[in-house]
Symmetry: C2
Amino acid sequence: MIITSLLLRRFLDLYQPIVKLGQIQSILDWDLNVNLPPKGAQARANQSAFLSELLTDQWNNPELSQQLDSLLGQDGLSDQERRLVKVIHRAQRFYRLVPKDLIVKKKQTSSQAFMAWHQAKEDNDFESFRPHLAELVAIDQLMANHLGFTDNPYDALLNQYDDGLTASFCFEVFSQLQPKLTELTHRIQQSSRYQPTHPLTDGTLVFATEDQQKLGLFVLRKMGYDAAAGRLDVVPHPFSTDLGWGDTRITTRYLSHDPQSSLAATMHEGGHALYSQGIPEEMYEVLSGEQDLSFSIHESQSRFWENQVGRSPQFIQFLTPLFQSFFPDQMHSVDTETLIRVFNRVQPGFIRIEADEVTYPLHIMVRFDIENDLINNRLDAKDVPDAWRQKMQTYLGVTPPTDRDGCLQDVHWSYGNFGYFPTYALGTLYAAQFAATMKQELFLDSLLPQGEMGPILGWLRHHIHQHGPLYSPEELAVRVTGHKLNPQHFTDYITQKYSDIYQLAGQPPTE
Amino acid sequence: MIITSLLLRRFLDLYQPIVKLGQIQSILDWDLNVNLPPKGAQARANQSAFLSELLTDQWNNPELSQQLDSLLGQDGLSDQERRLVKVIHRAQRFYRLVPKDLIVKKKQTSSQAFMAWHQAKEDNDFESFRPHLAELVAIDQLMANHLGFTDNPYDALLNQYDDGLTASFCFEVFSQLQPKLTELTHRIQQSSRYQPTHPLTDGTLVFATEDQQKLGLFVLRKMGYDAAAGRLDVVPHPFSTDLGWGDTRITTRYLSHDPQSSLAATMHEGGHALYSQGIPEEMYEVLSGEQDLSFSIHESQSRFWENQVGRSPQFIQFLTPLFQSFFPDQMHSVDTETLIRVFNRVQPGFIRIEADEVTYPLHIMVRFDIENDLINNRLDAKDVPDAWRQKMQTYLGVTPPTDRDGCLQDVHWSYGNFGYFPTYALGTLYAAQFAATMKQELFLDSLLPQGEMGPILGWLRHHIHQHGPLYSPEELAVRVTGHKLNPQHFTDYITQKYSDIYQLAGQPPTE
């Protein structure tokens, strides 16, 4: 984007400290996850709290507010310029409406909650995490009041991650989805071709980390990831992050007995990174980090590469000889058909991040229901473990034996990030909707078996990445696919795909 | 240290942002050296420049200046409290006297100069670095004028790194030292026991990086380095740095054909890190990073561990079985006597960081003379390569064939760090002086062959580390050893040591 408005350029100069502080915070957070020695934790927490105060002060700079307000009503801006102003105004909304004391209090509380969660998970002791959870819920309820809402305070929180997202929209989408996913899961497991375990993932074979890493890097480069503008590192909980223009880093994990899981994580984070690397430099330089972006759209990019590409039979055809050459001892007799079923094994489990493509959204629904009830005071923090077990049984038909494998498994609540989880499911749905349109324009069946992904990335760059956050998820979906989010794309996609793989008896049920 | 003065505590609250910004800058710099992808260089330079502006603004906060000034004349402070105020006042002096514009200009100029130096070194093209060098000299001349001096503008620059350091003091010390080092080098090379090359370092044997790293970590732990409060990483140019309390990181390099060089670098940086880890937490929390510390004293700690310990015949006795067990194929027939000569081979070379203990200070003298002449306008930037060759011939008897192995070898001038080099030589001298006192109290001959270094670290902690920067180098030397810096300790030490190792004919010459 080229910014010609002098008023906007003057404002963006004033806005630069916010951009820089966001990048610096990302550097500290990346280092925290990848490198921090145990005894450095307190110092890092203090440094982050300090940065957070600086950032809050910058957002509260009266001159910045004044210029931003006058830009909102300004004539003569280009469409892109107006959209950029709106994005920044939306990001500033949080700091304008929420008192600094509350922001600082949440930062401090979540620092302690994170440490408590870590220990509670290790000890399988929900009770020690409960007071922290209760306090973070109370803080987010206060924040919701400051941010404002019409029906449901949870809407105010959801809206932080996706412009315009509401609980009723999520509820509508999830209600449509849930019976279909449950039913499909059941049918897959009844298939004569269904194999609940396989030596490639059941722990009987060992795959060297160095080889998994080489394979992951090879696939990332094939996807179009610019490794000279990033890195690939190892962490327990994979993520990707932007440290500045030309510095988009990926982290992943390697399971010695399950190379497909590692590759899926790498491709997922690679999808996030490709989005960041696809934002034009001049736009990137005026974005303040994740606050500016739509989380559903970001997640649609990671889920697209992980699932629509990474778990597609056509791409697995490309992967088969690679797996065989990287792991000759373990893989010599494994053919594409087998790999397709290994990559697409459907099985309700306890752990979200290990879930397959079909059951994954059901895990999100458990969290959505509980968050919605917590924020609306329909559920007390102390009753979360029970609610978790009930919801898991209802949606997935399994009950985790411990809280460690249940409500303590995810880090998000220890950050107080209520409202974040639903974007994971929505991203999955957006990915399927984008893919449906893409397939009308690109013949993936001939590209993927060759590992030819340039046209795919080109399509994403053109239709999605280059716009960065300038369109809301809804606007972008309409622009790219002709209509708003429709979960039917996802259900059609998985029904067709898994019917093929597992030769499911009869036609998939139709509406 | 316990701070009881309420006025001082109030001031230190106001001072905290400076401490935090210094730590955050260290995080960015560590990451720059260890992790930064090539395309992220510009973004990182911009982030650092931004932090540098924030820091300058904080130092220029009028309330901070006012409180600091009133603390300087305050009655009722303890001795430690008064010293701390003086240290902070000294650090603030730079920001009080040098205009912000000039500080920012130096930051920008040195960013560009660093990149130009990197390329110039690779291309062996001094001419492309020359204008940057000339500009940085001009900036430092201006800075010297702002900082003030009596005789020599170079004094103002030296004083930045060591409280009270002057060019005439360096000149006096170096003049005493130079003929003795040149003479000793000559005598060693004449010895019948002198062996100019050895398979352990001449490139014929290969030592796996992983094993070198394990050995290095083992020795660091023996030294007392707390690995849970730091890390060991790999870089082309080793350094150590503080990222916050509990987070003191070491970097080193591994030469596949020369494990003693790698171990020396690791022990050197470990010495710096032990100093940092030995500063009491409550003092650490109110120090703003390296600006507060004396560079000679910091360097005395790295040189102590690298040379006084690491190259001592007694420690090499401890190392011999370790080397043999880590590198059984290469080392099975190598005995302690041989290792002692390998670790203490004296040979005038072109490269400072590869220099032995005896010739090292001569490399510093070359740089001292040239910096002194540049800052005093007695030498033009364009004549630096010639001057370098002449000085190398005079002091070391060798002439580097290229500027890459000559005046382009070190990074320091690209940062504009004129006045820094002399502290490397002075650190070496302080190390010898401290060691002479330590040896009156500890019987190293029985500790080192056992790898028993707890009492050594304990001595350093008690006499040096715990005081942090509260004493100037001169004050500390008097406090610990009874008198000011006396280079005779160093010349006595090396003369004795190398006479023993090389069985030099006749008595060492006396004064």
